[in-house]
Homo-oligomer: 339 residues x 2
DNA sequence: GTGAAAGCGCTAACAA
DNA sequence: TTGTTAGCGCTTTCAC
């Protein structure tokens, strides 16, 4: 059986409280007592029982990370970043996946499954602006993504509009004028799709180009297959185009595949830009020009904000914070400025 | 403040034990009492405190999953499968990543960080056969992968040798004779690399082809970049070859990129086969022929075995089980049988 | 600087 | 069928 505080106290000939003080690095302990206790801990290979500590203190040292799906590269890489960041703070990460399903996302917020976390980093893909009230919960939450703004919790998000605008401008600088957009969503005014579409439109408008609806292709999901299908449709519709902006890298990569199948050369015939800068984007042929949306920074900020909320637990919560992260245009082979 | 068993008991006018019985679906409770308690639970929005339950019962309902890295597609997809499987059993998953570092892998087994898990599913990439003793711990562990055999814990693994043999045979059936192997490891006799290399050799030998050492290329990591680099070396060494077997899909995909850069056509000039069947393999150009190693089944078995060990907690542990999972050859465009 | 004792919310003997 | 009670191992007042 594992040793308890009591055992250590007995062996060291002190009270249980003193041991607790040593374990928690309490300052007011005589040096000689401290070493004696340390020895006893060593000897018994004592390890604090986290359940007991958590019951007593109300903290578990576990944070929850709620994501659509780990096998989507973007989220896999985000999870890695969050775990690494959490570890720096001595926290451990419990991951729940929702499959981008709104009901499941809401369920996570109310179910007892995440009870033993001290707080949640939450990346919804099914919930929308109208669901903001679901975040009025009595534990700390940091919201990620661009589906809900002005909610009652801290929010870390990327500069979608500006970044999409920059991506589109890269294609314009490559001398392209007929830029297809792959991955738009019907009737949405929030969410990555809507914001990035807005950036695309702004860039075109600023360049004096009218947005041609036949170039805007809609997909429900953002997987490779959807990108490939969108391009096949575009081609079979006989729409002329000289560039593709995929609203994420998977769409862009799927698009590349379909373009190449059709015998089109990238970037000679068609330039392609993606969004996310997943690892894979470096190793395709041609390599994919894309937007690095600041994933690492998002993870770091999310953990820090959450930790701050957890620490302040007691007091009246301060205003929710909205934090924007810097992005970067990554120029590779699939789209290069003409100059 | 959250409601406790006491509050519910008071409201329902019963004892705390009765409430506990209802919450835990204990059979011997009068129907009328049960409904009364249910109402009280509803009214107070009572949710059991998991820390307390865990302290008392010794179970947390959390299982740990220890992986090298979530951003490697194979592990991202494995994590998804484990989480889905765990959920079926009402369990939640805590993920720790080791970065394939031996010391960190060993640390996870001893540190208190995973204390509040009921058991671990462990996928090492740094530890080797000699580290088997580190698994002699007093909590349930299910080992994944092919680095440690005959250890003191249950083990779920794929048929690496047979699957690699089948992959190589696919290339032979495509009429290839000069098959390059990408991703071998120096001086290893366990681990995916060694086992898959053995399958490759067996297939060649069975076909009466001698293994040409100049066709066997070594890489430390199994990322896309390593595959690409290996092929560039192969080409600059002037070694003739008509097929590539990448020991995982990332290597195969990186290889494809380098081959295409060099103006070689796939599968016309060079056939390529990978291993893992990650999602991406369907959407590259050409799509990648590969081995599906039974990831879903591995996840399901791992969770089941772990759960069984957790349940038997008390008794003397039975012999560790070694479970092999079925694989499947997935023929796509990059390598097709000649007939 | 150290000790005694209460109790976090729950489960599980045992009693009734 | 239901109630009483004793802790699980820890943190935390409050004394000393």
């Amino acid at each position: 059986m594992a040793a308890t505080l009591h055992d250590v106290a007995n062996l060291a000939g002190v009270s249980i409280k003193t041991v607790s003080n040593v374990v928690n690095d309490y300052p007011h302990v005589k040096e000689s007592t401290r070493t004696r206790v340390r020895q006893a801990i060593e000897e018994l290979n004592y390890q604090p029982n986290l359940s007991a500590r958590s019951l007593r203190s109300g903290r578990s040292g576990v944070i929850g990370l709620v994501l659509p799906e780990l096998s989507l590269s973007y989220f896999g890489e985000l999870a890695d970043a969050v775990i690494a960041e959490a570890e720096k703070h001595g926290l451990v990460v419990l991951i729940e996946k929702t499959g981008a399903d709104r009901d499941r996302e809401i369920a996570v917020l109310t179910s007892p499954r995440m009870q033993l976390t001290d707080g949640l980093i939450f990346s919804p893909l099914g919930m929308g602006q109208a669901d903001a009230r679901h975040f009025e919960v009595d534990f700390p939450v940091v919201l990620l993504g661009e589906r809900i703004f002005g909610g009652p919790v801290d929010h870390v998000t990327m500069r979608n509009v500006e970044a999409a605008q920059a991506a589109t401008e890269l294609l314009l600088k490559a001398g392209r004028r007929r830029i297809a957009l792959v991955g738009a969503h019907v009737d949405e005014d929030v969410g990555s799709a809507a914001l990035r579409t807005r950036g695309y439109e702004q860039a075109l408008t600023a360049a004096g180009i009218e947005v041609d609806p036949s170039l805007v292709r809609y997909t429900t999901l953002w997987h490779r297959s959807n990108g490939a299908a969108a391009i096949r449709d575009l081609l079979s519709d006989g729409v002329e185009f000289d560039a593709v902006f995929g609203l994420n890298d998977a769409l862009a990569l799927g698009s590349m595949r379909a373009l190449q199948e059709a015998g089109l050369r990238i970037p000679d015939d068609v330039s392609v830009v993606g969004f996310d800068d997943i690892d894979e984007a470096q190793y395709t042929l041609p390599s994919l020009s894309t937007i690095n949306p600041g994933r690492e920074q998002i993870a770091a900020l999310a953990v820090e904000l959450l930790l701050a909320r957890i620490r302040d637990g007691g007091g009246r919560p301060s205003e929710p914070r909205e934090v924007l992260v810097d992005f970067e245009v990554v120029v590779r082979e699939s789209a290069v400025p003409a100059d």
